[in-house]
């Protein structure tokens, strides 16, 4: 049995690729899946920081590629989960140090070990992006609903369709229902209207999420976090379960109730 390789990308930087990767990995393991998170952002790695595993890193992706260690040695285990590993990127090396074929070869090995291999893609649409996308079975586009993120996401979708023949799924990050309700921000419909791809989930904005990222505890591990539910839903949808979309439009008492019961 082989797993699925999912690349998380966005085009624009700072929209939450790394946070999404970390939280989805955590959410998937909590649903009983075996997960390996791969940081493909050579030279600017920070998936390890967000997952809180920085101090455990001994070897990295480039070491594996250049034969200084085995793949198993480079994998860093997350002690909070049953089966969650991180394959860290090299901080001291460059994106060009890993060729597309090498990345594909590594991922072919990884899928034999795990159910899901999540690759955190670097920002931009250069070599690093193609390296991250090449081995993917599925691609997840993360975007916020601001203009520049949408424009870049659109471009990435175009590149994926043109170069890799992939139909990506969409995660809308930092969604602010309050601003959408007041008509000042593009809503889910507006975003989907432009990007016209399948929506996998919406993550509402939450400043505590930033704090949890800072502490190195993915929100999916934190029972007090409200956004945990959003990541869990996305993880379920990735696994093929049909989860209805959370209705963030509903303010007032019903919204409060909905929040109370976690939907």
């Amino acid at each position: 049995m082989t797993g699925t390789v999912i690349t998380i990308t966005s085009g624009k930087g700072g929209v939450g690729k790394t946070t999404t990767t970390a939280n989805l990995s955590a959410a998937l393991t909590q649903l009983g899946q075996r997960v390996i998170a791969v940081d493909a952002d050579m030279g600017l790695r920070n998936l390890d920081l967000v997952m809180g595993l920085e101090n455990r890193i001994v070897f990295d992706l480039v070491d594996v590629v250049e034969g200084r260690c085995t793949l198993q040695q480079a994998l860093v285990r997350d002690p909070r989960a049953e089966f969650l590993y991180l394959l860290p990127a090299a901080q001291t090396r460059d994106k060009r140090d890993v060729a597309i074929e090498q990345m594909c070869a590594i991922c072919r090995q990884l899928v034999t070990m795990a159910d899901y291999v999540l690759i955190d893609s670097p920002a931009g649409i250069e070599h690093g992006f193609h390296t991250a996308v090449a081995p993917a079975d599925r691609v997840l586009i993360v975007t916020t609903s601001d203009v520049s993120a949408l424009r870049d996401a659109d471009k990435v979708i175009y590149l994926l369709e043109r170069d890799w023949r992939r139909q990506p799924g969409l995660v809308i990050n930092r969604y602010n229902p309050k601003l959408v309700n007041s008509g000042e921000m593009r809503g889910i419909d507006d975003v989907l209207d432009i990007l016209a791809i399948d929506l996998l989930g919406v993550v509402p904005e939450d400043e505590r999420l930033m704090l949890s990222t800072d502490r190195g505890t993915p929100a999916a591990f934190d029972r007090r976090m409200y956004v945990r539910r959003a990541y869990e839903n996305i993880a379920r949808r990735i696994m093929g379960v049909n989860v209805p979309l959370t209705d963030y439009y509903r303010p007032g008492f019903r919204g409060w109730l909905a929040r109370l019961f976690g939907r």
């Binding site: 203009v147 949408l150 424009r151 471009k155 175009y158 593009r186 507006d190 432009i194 016209a196």
Partner: protein
């Protein structure tokens, strides 16, 4: 090609705009073609009639013209407008520096009207009669009244005379009032509406090219459409037109693209381009001919890139970041402060398909059923 402008000149129509302009020009073309006598007036231009035929058939709007035959007007209007006064002598009249010049035949044809207007103004003011100032035309769903150039009192006198002579023929009809570029005050508009009301006619919609009239009509509470302001023409623009006409070859055949055109995607074809899908912001569609989008058009579009000024851009949802036809550019209006850019990534509020074309050196965007002959009143009805 000057026969395109000629009939309009000689009947001294108030220079029409928008959909009207195209209809009229095509109609005149057809007249020129079908009536052998009409082409006689163009002495010395043997090439002209053929060209006009070619051009009219190249126009995508042509099939529409058939249903919109001239005689329908004439049944109501006592004289066919193009026969009303056929004096070719008018050409000799000096009408400013920009008179249609025989050295540039192409110009008169394509970028017709502002100069004609000035010459007409002289004509009309020298001998204004009812037949010249006010045009009444029957349409399938109402009456269109065009107000020409002349003093307002004369206009009113002429209109009242025409209405009296019709003796209740127009009763209970809805009127599309075309005021052209004339600035009209609220008082004058009210006076006009009252006169029409006396004949049991109602003003359905007012078309104007003057901002002032627009405001006045709003104040009076009439349905009003502000059309493109008068095109500013200068020698360079005319020259550019001329050159592009020289180069401009119309596209042949269609290129069909199915799917989404996304940011960074560029479609460049000599043929007409038909996109079945959306054109997103950041994408470009360039064609020597028309660009038709069965979907939302929000990127940059350039129709008639080879210089064909008759090219059209049409989309179910026409909100391009930038719209170019031949050498004319129109950019999307800036968003209102406090709103995210409506023309950018926001689902549009209006649902009607629209068509963009060049009218008097400016790109005019109209809803599809306004561009359709007889669509004026239909539109007004549809909107309730």
């Amino acid at each position: 090609m000057s026969d395109v402008s000629r009939p309009e000149d000689s009947n001294s129509l108030p220079s029409p705009n928008g959909a009207f302009a195209l209809e009229l020009r095509i109609a005149d073309l057809l007249d020129g073609v079908t009536v052998p006598g009409a082409s006689n007036t163009m002495a010395g231009e043997s090439k002209a009639p053929q060209e006009s035929v070619k051009e009219s058939s190249a126009l995508p709007g042509k099939p529409l013209v058939k249903s919109h035959a001239r005689p329908a007007y004439d049944a109501v209007d006592s004289l066919p407008p193009f026969l009303a006064q056929g004096s070719p002598a008018k050409e000799a009249e000096p009408s400013g520096a920009k008179a249609p010049n025989s050295a540039w035949p192409a110009l008169a044809a394509t970028s017709a009207s502002p100069d004609m207007e000035t010459s007409e103004a002289k004509d009309a003011s020298s001998a204004p009669t009812g037949a010249q100032i006010v045009y009444i035309r029957g349409r399938s769903d109402g009456v269109a009244i065009e107000i020409g150039v002349g003093a307002w009192t004369q206009v009113m006198a002429a209109l009242s005379e025409r209405l009296e002579s019709a003796a209740g023929f127009f009763r209970k009809s809805s009127v599309a009032l075309d005021l052209g570029a004339r600035p009209v005050t609220e008082g004058e508009l009210q006076e006009l509406a009252q006169m029409l009301a006396a004949q049991e006619m109602t003003v359905g919609v007012v078309r104007t090219r003057s901002e002032r009239t627009f405001q006045a009509a709003l104040a009076v509470g009439l349905a009003v459409m502000l059309e493109a302001p008068e095109g500013v023409q200068n020698a360079t623009a005319m020259l550019a037109t001329f050159n592009s006409q020289e180069r401009g070859a119309d596209a042949e055949g269609y290129f069909v693209y199915r799917g989404y055109l996304r940011s960074g995607h560029r479609l460049h074809h000599r043929e007409h381009v038909l996109v079945i899908g959306d054109v997103n912001p950041g994408a470009e569609v360039i064609s020597d001919g028309d660009v038709l989008v069965w979907g939302r058009l929000r990127g940059v579009v350039h129709a008639g890139a080879g210089g064909n000024r008759r090219a059209l851009v049409a989309a179910l949802d026409l909100e391009p970041t930038q719209l170019r036809i031949a050498n004319v550019i129109k950019i999307a209006p800036d968003p209102k402060p406090g709103q995210p850019g409506r023309f950018f990534w926001r689902r549009s509020q209006h649902k009607r398909p629209e068509i963009a074309r060049i009218v008097q050196d400016e790109i005019v965007i109209e809803e599809w059923d306004m561009a359709r002959p007889g669509g004026l009143v239909a539109l007004q009805r549809g909107d309730g």
